[in-house]
Symmetry: C2
Subunit: 202 residues, 2 copies
């Protein structure tokens, strides 16, 4: 069985995105998967009269529909939270009923990252951290917003957090590889009886 | 026909979230909808041995499955992009095949907001804006990451952008109301023939 993994993450914005994608796809193969890297479809010709962004969106959606599952890079990106493009894709795959796996290349929790922005105060009265708009900062020890951490935990494989050097923040693949191990354990083990059944039929 | 609208947005973090939610639900009713506000389920008792974040996640997912569509507040939140919890829900509703509508209470585009963080340079060679990691900043004139803007545009109703005073950033409801108008135009008009058919049958 060819099991396809959608590879979501902000590394599509790197100057050497294609090379990073090739590395991820090589790792996928080593674990028995075919990796689908969204950047690979971005070079395609945009139909006349169409917008590049809309064409990329449709290509990514087609890849997600084709994929059996997704591994999502949820490393914080330009702020305390993950890349919203990757989070959109995480949600979409959950809506499509497919298994999702996620990792972050930082081990800090959301609250500590929001506190680093310097505009957060602890309210003694209701014992809640609030930002400059008075808006509550979640304090569950999660890597990010609860919708992200909980969707992974509910599927039985919590968000993988690894600590990497700042220069490797969007390049280190240890967390990604740990997700591949989890994916193999859940999807390839579950798939084994299928080939057994095929032999039974033969 | 009771048409239910899931009300996603970072206003659940406001100190007066319940009051803001009540305002949104009142507006929904005025346009012929029932609003489902995620914060309303958060007060519920958490089963013994369960975590509050996981219980909230499951309650929100149940509301989304129950809803016919969603209106998502995509105002930038603690950084240049929208609240990731709301973006997860946007993606999930798209995955579930339901109509989504979105608004932002700022009219600036993503690039200009990322530029405000001060760590972005224009590369003359490839004519691309890049951040301190060399990562490309999208320059489509969109309000946010292309997955967000394009998913709304592909459904025929681009992201609504309104300019509000900073103090009203998470409270102003003009963009929300414009989304309600769009929702009514698309969903209630489409529903009209159903009641006609019912009369035909009578």
């Amino acid at each position: 069985m060819d099991c396809k993994v959608y590879l979501a993450g902000p590394e599509v914005f790197l100057p050497d995105a294609a090379a990073l994608g090739a590395q991820k796809k090589d790792l996928c193969e080593r674990y028995g998967f075919t990796g689908l890297f969204p950047f690979d479809t971005e070079g395609g010709a945009v139909p006349i009269g169409d917008r590049a962004d809309r064409a990329i969106y449709r290509a990514n959606v087609a890849l997600m529909r084709d994929a059996d599952c997704a591994i999502v890079n949820l490393t914080s990106f330009r702020g305390p939270s993950a890349d919203v493009g990757s989070v959109f894709e995480l949600g979409m795959m959950v809506g499509l009923g497919k298994p999702v796996f996620g990792y972050s290349n930082t081990t800090t929790d959301l609250l500590s990252r929001v506190r680093q922005t310097g505009s957060v105060l602890f309210n003694d009265e209701d014992r809640v951290w609030r930002d400059q708009y008075g808006m509550r900062v979640e304090d569950f020890g999660n890597a990010d917003n609860l919708m992200i951490d909980a969707c992974l935990a509910e599927q039985g494989h919590p968000l993988v957090r690894v600590n990497v050097a700042d220069g490797e923040l969007y390049r280190d693949l240890r967390g990604f590889e740990e997700c591949l191990r989890l994916t193999a354990k859940e999807l390839l083990t579950a798939a084994a009886p299928v080939s057994n059944r095929r032999e039974d039929r033969a």
